[in-house]
Symmetry: D2
């Protein structure tokens, strides 16, 4: 499966299946002399891990990370950093009844078609559990971004048809939906609980804001900053769309409405508006980078669904087990991690470019 | 500028600026023994070239392509294919007045910040003219897709607030908007003409459908088919968003509504609906692949705009010259080309994977 | 440290330091449905591991491998395969006296210059122990080569000035030098024992023969088969030179002497001689591939040597600890592994190329 | 043919066949603001071009280079630099008689086996003419090395059995053999003339010295400086071996003899000897980098040789046309170029790594 490596200078390679012995990541290209310890990584893993609240899957994984290499006496050495998370709470038997069925919305059918074999235990490599490794790598990437005071804030913007109306970063971690609007958060939580009761699921939109990004990140023409971010974010299994700045809404505007005027106080240059979402010609322009991703409703639902078997017979399926009725709350740290990974890569590249 | 190479096995490297001597592309990894001649490529270039209709820029470029390598006696040899298009109709002087100004919506400011130098003639490397090379490479990619009867159809779905309501592939090339709905096409054309008169521009949405795509394309976890397509398409300068299948609309649904049931006639497996847009877990599932991209209103408008100079003084700017009032009609072949490039790459990778 | 990933389709990423918690490798791009278990890998690790004979370092590492991912029910799944080997017999204290000194012939000085930090415990990342991961990956690569009946045989050709005069593959594993000439092997073993007694070391030449390699492997112009093999083999820390076929001896010949005539029996095409070592224009020609690498005398010797401290003071150093007096016997499986890795990669690439 | 791209940050992609319309290279990753004009490149091309002296092929190619992109007002912009050299003096008819024969020592047979098609005109892509593009790229790479005062000197060290005994860089360009020993140069020239008369060819050894290389270049573990140089140099068609420092001679020494002691004057650290050839653990140590490559005798000879046809019939072949009786003189600038390319890449990488 060529496809488990991402990045150019800050390069990560992930491995692991939902019900295998372990998940992990090797990160090559981390500059030396950065402070790094397991707690730094654990903090982000804890934000992603299952069982955080009643809104998420009850799979109880500690997701304890071990640093296997690349750190000496508390500092990175320039050598590749390998991070390992053991799987401890597998209930593989839950999946034995699904062995010969294709779960709708999942990759069961396509994996089998592609590889001629599939690890049916919890989706194997296609499980959302794979994102554990991304979050671990993201924590390392943030160490590079910290040097430049780049800050990434992700939050749930809508769940189903419930939109948030205000943005208050300080409340994001105070509600289990990770919404930046406390009032909307309550309604969202209610809806998610309802879905759980119904054995159903619901989708949503996650927004991310990047503050303090310097100008100059992103590499035309194919490795534009928005292209790289799109690659990274759209590779998260549950995401079906992405937009920057005004995004799809910009398509309804005139150029004279959409263009962001340049303004200056004689010292710094800014734009009066930020319809572009902080990226011009694929390069960061110093404004806040703003993007949104479309999170589909979780495919695992316990309601009965129509499907077929490996032997091409029609049947019904109910996907029991331990699932998230809405993926938004737990995908927020994954989105942040992927953004951090792309930015760290672009920062290193830019260091090499600029004489 | 590391960033001008795209693809893994079907790998292209583009070069050239809007007002330099030439644009071109080198494509490495093209299998041998494919029929290829300049006419094959010219056909697609003609669909992208300026001056096609009154709706597009009057810059009059023949965009004649020359094959410099990799083809012998009408067949590809396995060697890299270099394609060259000379620039012949530059009016570089048009840009001398813009030399010290940053055009809103353009990459003038960010290129200067990134590189400390910019080729101000028509945007240089950041010009949409760069996509000529993509279209040329796409024509070669299609030679590989033809072997599997994969067909890509792009068309303008909306312009400003004007939506198309029907999809008839046969009319796409019969109207200058490249819309699949003849009635909507007329309204769109009127709107675009109006923008031209106003010295303004308008955005739109381009949709693409991929027919005949076999199962198994795309490489988890980072090189999922939708992630690779997003990388390629979001690297087109004018595009600000992308979605697959139901895309952002899926976020409002329940899992039981969004999941595509599997069905079978005992011989083949299909899905009853295609909300996923033909991709499950990042791998093609054999259904039509459906995606949409958000095309922003062209940044070049002749209306007066607020901006700043290189020396950080506020001023006004009017971007005269030869511009497209709506980029949708000409971006359609570019979108198709990038899709072809990604698919060709995935096809070659899959040949290597499957024992 | 970008540089821990190798290969294009068969792509490995290694990690780990001599005295860290573990060494390992993630291999992406392994085709599905290959039989693979830990014993397959352990066999090669046992051939490389320390403490095999009185000629090698007495460091006593079991080098037990654990498969962390990519294998399900005894078969590869197409997902990345992560292999882990824990370090169990570190004597890190042995190195505390070397902490501020640069060992001659080692990478202590250059690592510190490059990274501004170094893990001084046994060379850290620059230790020969890093090759454990290569050998583990090579065992997986051989699974692909087995499908084509490609066989790689490495052996010690000379130690110091002692040359071997015959080549009998059957005796290689019957002597601790891994020499293909039993008589020479005895002399070599005596010399190595003598070096051990003296607290010194000695170099040698390792030759490798690849049998059953099909025509067509290797990718002009930069990824020629000999270029890729050279990259892989010269990246083994102890190797200072490589040659193919007649190698440096060919420089003394005329073209009429060196060229290998083509001959045929009407069915197959061969060459009368094999001065080229099985590669023409960077592509395998179906003959045996023959190469030799120059293995320097081990840098770790207990004899007193002149060196300097981190603080730029002259001093003497004696590198005690557990070292190999001659690296040849243990580098043989490493050489074979790197060859297997390169060939597996070329095999997968060739599957993609050929229509 | 995936394989025409080389380098990581300083990345080149070459194209072109011996008798096609043109050869060229696209170089991505060149930092902005370097002075660059066609004369800078032409100088090196003139050192490589055919017809320089009576010792080289009489093919009369001007090899005039055109810069197609990436340079604006005499400076690099950060955009990819495309360089084009038209073929003007093809005598393709010379090759029509060779169309169905495999020339011994050439890639005719292996290209056909690999691709199922071959451009038989002068070897097509496998021709030494391909190195024109490398030399052009090397001239750009040197612009980066100039910033650090890194200097590369290549010269012919031996031709056949004639060794040079002194090294005087100042005479290299004063004799057509590019030997650093004027006396040996005369004998070498005589031998080459004799080969020409005989319709035969002869090999030799080319040595290169890199002066002023800072410490810290090269990236463990797979992209060690010597591994990258070996990849680049062994990809030159005519080269069959490479060694660094003492190379194969080191295999006959004891560690106590081979290790380079560290010495210091209290300010700088050096090694007393330079047996390692300036590289320790794959990283430059600040000493001169010294390497040698084995150049095989040119495969094109007009003497009659035994070969077979495409239809597997035995026959005789005489390769007339315009060939070099010894490749050493013209390969010197190619060797220098490839070294420059690898070093420029390592310099850019190191800029990104070091905080």
């Amino acid at each position: 499966m060529p496809g488990s490596t991402f990045g150019r200078l800050f390069k990560l390679t992930t491995f692991g299946e939902s019900h295998g012995p372990a998940l992990g990541v090797v990160i090559d290209g981390v500059p030396p002399l950065l402070d790094l310890c397991e707690d730094d990584i654990q903090h982000d893993l804890d934000r992603r891990r299952p069982g955080q609240s009643s809104l998420t899957t009850p799979r109880n994984e500690a997701d304890k990370v071990e640093i296997l290499s690349g750190v000496f006496e508390g500092k990175t050495t320039g050598a590749p950093i390998a991070l390992l998370v053991r799987n401890t709470n597998q209930h593989s038997k839950d999946y034995s009844t699904l062995k010969d069925l294709f779960r709708p919305g999942h990759a069961d059918y396509t994996f089998l078609q592609k590889y001629g074999i599939r690890d049916y235990r919890g989706g194997g490599r296609s499980s959302g559990r794979e994102t554990t490794a991304r979050v671990a790598a993201g924590a390392v990437a943030k160490k590079i971004l910290d040097l430049l005071s780049i800050r990434i804030i992700g939050y749930t913007k809508s769940v189903g048809s419930i939109e948030s109306h205000t943005v208050d970063f300080s409340v994001i971690e105070q509600n289990p939906v990770r919404c930046a609007d406390m009032e909307a958060a309550k309604k969202m939580a209610d809806l998610i609980e309802q879905m759980k009761t119904e054995g159903d699921s619901v989708g949503g939109v996650v927004e991310a804001v990047i503050q303090g990004c310097p100008t100059g990140l992103g590499d035309p023409v194919f490795d534009k900053l928005d292209a790289m971010l799109s690659h990274g974010l759209m590779s998260i299994g549950t995401i079906k769309g992405i937009e920057f700045g005004l995004g799809f809404d910009a398509t309804k505007l005139k150029g004279s409405q959409n263009n962001d005027s340049f303004i200056t106080d004689g010292t710094q240059i800014h734009t009066r508006t930020n319809h572009a979402g902080g990226i011009l010609g694929g390069i960061s322009n110093g404004e806040e980078i703003v993007l949104r991703v479309a999170v589909k409703p979780a495919s695992s639902i316990s309601k009965s669904q129509e499907t077929v078997t490996k032997d091409k017979e029609s049947t019904q399926i109910e996907v029991h087990g331990r699932h998230d009725p809405c993926i938004c709350p737990r995908v927020v740290p994954v989105v942040e991690a992927m953004i951090a990974i792309v930015l760290a890569d672009c920062v290193l590249i830019q260091r090499a470019i600029k004489l």
